[in-house]
Symmetry: C2
Subunit: 129 residues, 2 copies
């Protein structure tokens, strides 16, 4: 932890600044459709309808927005082939693929502890009433 003096004088590289970077990353990638799109595309290049089918439960509009956000951040590449009918494929860039590892670790944490969180939630709700 940074001391108060350090925090005031130079937050670069210190805890609050790191948290801020992480916050920005999570603002970008930390919603479930983004995660699910990255996870789905880790299987290889795919067309829109296949991504939608594999994710399940995502609206056309939400998936469009999600893929556009990923494209904008350089995590997904969109390729339009000039065929008839036109064919559009989405695939992870190298940057996108590099994100699958940290996400897998977070997923493992979630799988390991989701029951524990569920139990804590129920206990908390019961305590309130």
């Amino acid at each position: 932890m940074a001391t108060k003096a350090e925090k005031t004088n130079n937050i670069e590289g210190h805890h609050p600044e790191k948290c801020r970077v992480l916050g920005q990353v999570l603002d970008r990638i930390g919603d479930k459709w983004t995660i699910m799109a990255v996870g789905t595309l880790s299987g290889g290049p795919m067309r829109f309808n296949e991504i939608m089918r594999r994710i399940g439960g995502v609206s056309h509009r939400m998936l469009t927005l999600t893929l556009r956000g990923l494209e904008r951040d350089g995590l997904v590449r969109r390729t339009a082939y000039p065929t008839i009918p036109p064919k559009v494929e989405y695939e992870l860039t190298q940057l996108g693929r590099s994100l699958t590892e940290p996400l897998a670790i977070l997923l493992a944490w979630g799988e390991m502890h989701s029951d524990e969180i569920e139990t804590a939630r129920k206990a908390f709700e019961n305590n309130k009433t």
Copy 2:
């Protein structure tokens, strides 16, 4: 990746289900104030005002909501000491401490790639205009 048949017949343990678990975890912990609160509390037990000061830029109300959410999910323990004036401390539970490692890995990814994402964003915006 699960094949289509596997996905239809039994999603348990397959990709879409894993993504869903991860989505739920991220719905819980994937906002920046939660991350910053967990990061700050990794320094040890703290009172409300100290957490607020260390995070910086968080409103009283937002931090109250954030800490309550963390308490509900079993990641933070709130202890009220019957002193005069009353003293209330927050600290990470074992579950909360176990989250600091995956978050550190995601943070490292963010620090390593935030410039790349920023560059991609600018290129994308410039392409549009």
